[in-house]
């Protein structure tokens, strides 16, 4: 059965509509991430590798209260505390974390530690490239998570 003129018109209209969307998207900015060629973008509240914060004086905010370790459901935070002396001061309070490890083999990025922290010392950063061939490299030490000191002016 030969196609009627109206069928032809309908098809042409459908193609034009479809191509219209294609051209519109072609012109609008892309939302596909170019990872790994370009760094990915994150939502503000994305829960990635933890960051240990410093206060306005550059001192560590963590006071080694162990509350994050207590809150952690996968028991992956390990802390050793020590007291600050007048000569060597790490945190603003009496105590600081001499050792602070998070085992990323076990962390489930639930954010409970961040909730628990009374000093807002631990936060989630946006780091997510925590894969490795050797599980021992997934135990992050304090130095790997601590915000770097700003360069001395």
């Amino acid at each position: 059965m030969p196609a009627s003129a109206s069928d032809v018109l309908k098809s042409a209209a459908a193609i034009a509509k479809g191509m219209g969307i294609t051209f519109k998207e072609l012109m609008s900015p892309t939302i596909t991430e170019n990872y790994p060629d370009e760094p990915p973008k994150f939502q503000e509240r994305y829960r990635g590798v933890h960051v240990l914060q410093r206060d306005e004086n550059g001192l560590e905010k963590c006071v080694a209260c162990f509350l994050c370790a207590a809150a952690c459901p996968s028991n992956c935070i390990y802390i050793e505390a020590a007291d600050n002396t007048d000569a060597v001061r790490f945190s603003g309070a009496e105590r600081y974390a001499k050792v602070y490890n998070i085992d990323y083999n076990r962390c489930i990025f639930c954010g409970y530690c961040v909730e628990a922290c009374p000093t807002d010392a631990i936060t989630h950063g946006h780091g997510f490239e925590v894969a490795g061939y050797n599980t021992s490299t997934l135990i992050y030490r304090k130095e790997q998570m601590l915000v770097p000191l700003p360069p001395k002016p």
């Binding site: 006071v63 080694a64 209260c65 162990f66 207590a70 050793e80 505390a81 009496e94 105590r95």
Partner: protein, 671 residues
Amino acid sequence: MSKLVRLEIDGKPVEVPAGTLVINAAKTVGIEIPAFCYYDGLTLQGACRMCLVEVEKSPKLVTACTLAAAEGMVVRTQTPQVVQARKAMLEFLLTNHPLDCPVCDKGGECELQDLTFRYGLGESRFLETKVHVPEKQWSAVVYYDAPRCILCYRCVRICKEGMGVSALAVVSRAVDSEIAPNMGDHLYCDECGMCIDICPVGALTSQDYRYQTRPWEMKHVGTICTHCADGCTTTLGVYNNRVIRGNNHDRTGLNGEFLCVKGRYAHDFIAHSERLKCPLMRVDGKLVEVSWSQALAEVAARFGGIRSRGGKFGVIGSTRTTNEENWYLQKFAREGLGTGNIDHHRSGDVISLLSALKGRADALAATSDLYERKAALVIGSDLAQQHPLVAFQLRANWRHHESHIYTVTRGPVREDAYSRLRVRAEAGRELAAAKSLRQALQAEPELLILFGDCVRGAAVHELVEFGDSLGIPVRYICLVDYVNSRGAMDMGLTPGLLPGYQPAAAPGLDLAGMLAAADLDALWVVGANPLKNAALAAERAFVVVQDLFLTETAARADIVLPAACAYEKTGTVTNVCGEVQRLSRAVTTMGAKPDLEIFRSLAARMGLDLGEPETDRVYAEMRRQLPVPAAGEAARGVVASAGDTLFTSGTLGRYCGVLRNVREAPGGLYQ
């Protein structure tokens, strides 16, 4: 039994003996009345007002901690007025209290935290800046943080009443009030840490636990203190295979919450940098590190050689190893090496006491007698220094039951302050002096006699005769030095007696005899340091030493085997009153082995089958029939206490930083 009274608390009928405080009466029916200053066994203070309750017919709220229950009393603990009063009290206590919980050592086990959580308001109406005072260090052990103090006077009372020291007091007024130490800016005291332990908040903290970890992070292991012979249970807080603190806040054991400085803080020897962790062998005159198998093979070969040519062995045991180890060592010596030359450092004449008692088991006192008997006679011991728990219990007995204490010592002791009669006697004349108390003692309904190393041999028999002649029930405690001094004797580490004080077929040399024997072929020293003040006559003897540290004796050894301490093993130990208690393993030190394991490996290498330690059987025998060693047995060997004070503890004390750092160290007896 005193008269019972009936009262009503929150609608529940309660029946308690007259004189019971309402706060305790409420506990019997499961009603909690929150309290800070009230503490069982101490005088009443009524300082914190946290325990306010409503009592019918009383116009105002009453403190339940000072109110004795009376017939027909109607008490209410849950009315809106009481709830409001608690909120107000907590708000008031927190006026200047810092928001320190995250860093405060008490956080997680703080009574103020707990009660605020349960009864508090949740917020404060005080907006003013909090008064802040910097923290102070009072001694090598004690720190005080004034803003956290709630002035409950518990520390003041435990120090004065419990310890008999009175080193703490409250100074200043109103918001400036705080606790002050006896020396103005520092403490001079027993350093027992009882004040720190009893403090309901984190105002008093210890050097040892300070900022180390948090209570819930630790594993809590209840074991027996390894220092003196009193046998306190100390609950060690372990984090990451390290002992962080000792306390006994849960009141398990025969010491309740009491611990002296040694049980609470003197555990740092475990991780001391000079701890031996590898066997040492003498090569070309110098001790060099070797493997365990090499060291054990050498000992087994040399011991085997000396045994097969009929050589002369000497074995010196320890007062700190377990009963099982002591049993095994004496069996090893007697059967494996075929020698009767075995002894240890004896610090009290238990043998003479047993032989004088002739099987009367009820004449041996238990630790509970110290708190319960109506009178006690102390001969030749500075209890507060040498036997802190015994002193604490006698003091509690005097405070609570007005018991009569008599002291016969060669110098001033703390017990003088509350003893009924005190006699000074030159060293060696103590027994004669004690006899001069006959008249007073005869008037007592019952008596407990504690005697130190000055009463030994025939004098012990004389003492027991004197006790018998009083015509009242008398019980005895022979004071010995270390954690298992008593067990070493019970388990036959003596030349003439087998385990359970059974006579040995072939009695050997005593400790002094072994050191003096020029023809000794081998000396095996387990956990002792006999060469500290003596020389070994046999210059060519093959010496094997098992110890924690390179002591004077170990330095002379041909082979040194690193041993585990009491906190690193299991087994049983026997205290000064003969009570057998179990050790639990808290930590492990890599490289060191428990002595029992060392004995077993040696036995296996020498092809000996010594069986399992039979300590349970020995003690069951002793309980069935108290052994009576022959009167002459005690003469084999020397009895002399090491005279340790609160701040020394034989070899271990030398490696305890805490004991060496306190101002009072090394202190002295009878001062």
